[in-house]
Symmetry: none
DNA sequence: ACAAAAGAATTCCTTATGGATTGCATTATT
DNA sequence: AATAATGCAATCCATAAGGAATTCTTTTGT
């Protein structure tokens, strides 16, 4: 029978290019690693590592073994993940990835609801741009993503669950058309935009459908920053309704635009994801927003 | 880290429905299997086997683990399969670096001989100048170099294996002294030379030993080109005998020079190189030329 | 038929040591 | 002065011997 410690040692040596480095990483001494690799080589009857000069390189057989070994080791760590939900005592853990806006305004409410039902559940939220989040999701470093759609990915399943309207935002006292400002009305305003990925794209498309190309005065990575700047009278903006709920009506004038401009927030999971109870709860709580 | 023996024991117990049976199959005693499964349960923090009545059945977590475990164990046995060809030496790879002349005229014959003995062997030949080849050899990007000597390098081992004579080559019908042309005879001829590194150097030294400094009319990177030009009557040349074996005697006059001028071809390996069966075969086949 | 405990055997790790190569500095040479 | 050669120190891996830890067996109990 093969031995996972030996496989792991072998992979580590190749990755780090040195027996000594692999030993340090594993918290062992160099002879231990040497022995592991040697035993593996004996068991397989093949030379796996070319000890040549100062560098350790895989032999042809070693290259082939690497492919298998990496997969096996990954599967083994996946086992721990898979057993997590069955564990007694630990209620579980849900790792959520999210874009900035949703994480500030939507997730806290959903998480609060989940926590009420499953107090022990550990919830981790990672903020990032859609691209990074989805990559981590595919790598199973995240359990669930909450992002602005569209979201692509062969192994991913997308469920839209919230339609967020983008609102025109102006300093208090600005003239705001009754039935909402259109592209014509807005095109000459000074614009401060949130430089989010899909949100920003939706805004550009909205203007572009009337043949207008927007040249924003400034772009910011933070919605809150844009809000403050608009409140200070520095210009107009188009911001997610979500971000405007904790009303700054004392300093801001807000209105839907014409035609209305919305963006879809969606939950994204790996298609083959095993649903733990915690994850199911989170999904259900997010669905509450669907109304 | 997971343990494959434990996984295997667990799967076996489920498959056979009994600890004792699993123990027999594994050639161990029953407590050993009990312990393995217990340790696995402890490590995963999950109960895996429901000991109910006479039959051992998997818990829900056990069912899930079975899926993973079977796959992992299969992959592990696939590893043995995958290593088999390398183990028997029927598969392998030899990366040879070579100067141009040897690679065209010597290597094909040696490779053909090796292939006859080890049909599965993968042979890669990289052409380049001596310097590049030797650098790659030191970096272990090549297994063997076949170059014109001398070849330096602290970590390299050199074995001369073929003495190649440089022949004077003239257009058909040229006057060629009976006992071979000397420097005196050749110094006034129009010369077309092959701009190889060590070969070219050997020629310069040959003339220099009689105090003559050669001013070749043209230099070419290809021996074949020089041959064609000489055949077309454009001048004389000194070329490796190896390159003249596929006789162009219908258009060329060839003769040893006086004193005879030879260059050594050598095999070069890293001093600490591990000899695979394939590499040994290649070396042996090259030695056949030594006669 | 499985679990638990104690002793035995094996495995695996650490320490110590030696061989080999590499990188750097020093020295000799053209 | 620049280049090549030499010598030294450092680094890395292999091996051997002793010791710690794991794992198996035997025995016994539920």
């Amino acid at each position: 029978m093969l031995n996972l410690d030996q496989l792991s040692a072998f992979v580590s040596v190749i990755d780090l290019g040195s027996f000594t480095a692999a030993a340090d990483k594993a918290g062992l001494t160099q002879p231990a690693i040497s022995l592991q690799v040697k035993l593996l080589e004996q068991r397989l009857g093949v030379r796996l590592i070319e000890r040549v000069g100062r560098r350790a390189q895989p032999s042809p057989a070693g290259v082939e073994l690497l492919l298998h070994a990496r997969r096996i080791l990954e599967d083994c760590s996946a086992v721990h993940e898979a057993m997590m939900p069955y564990r007694e005592g630990s209620v579980g853990r849900v790792r959520i990835g999210s874009g900035g806006t949703a994480s500030i305004h939507l997730l806290p409410r959903a998480i609060a609801a989940v926590k009420k039902r499953m107090p022990g559940l550990e919830i981790i939220v990672r903020i990032g741009n859609t691209e990074d989040i989805l990559r981590d999701l595919e790598a199973n470093a995240l359990d669930l993503a909450v992002v602005v759609l569209p979201a692509a990915g062969r192994s991913l399943e997308v469920e839209p669950f919230y339609e967020d309207e983008l609102l025109a935002v102006a300093p208090k006292g600005s003239h705001m058309p009754k039935d909402g400002p259109g592209t014509d009305f807005l095109k000459d305003k000074t614009f401060l935009l949130y430089e989010g990925g899909n949100t920003r794209r939706a805004i550009d498309e909205w203007f572009a459908s009337d043949g207008i190309r927007l040249k924003p005065a400034m772009e910011f990575g933070s919605v809150e920053a844009v809000k403050e700047l608009v409140a200070a009278g520095l210009g107009w903006s188009l911001l997610p309704g979500l971000a405007l709920q904790r009303d700054r009506s004392d300093h801001l004038e807000t209105s839907p635009v014409k035609p209305r401009l919305t963006r879809q927030l969606g939950m994204v999971l790996r298609r083959d994801k095993h649903l733990t109870r915690g994850l199911r709860e989170v999904i259900n709580c997010l669905r509450e927003f669907r109304s």
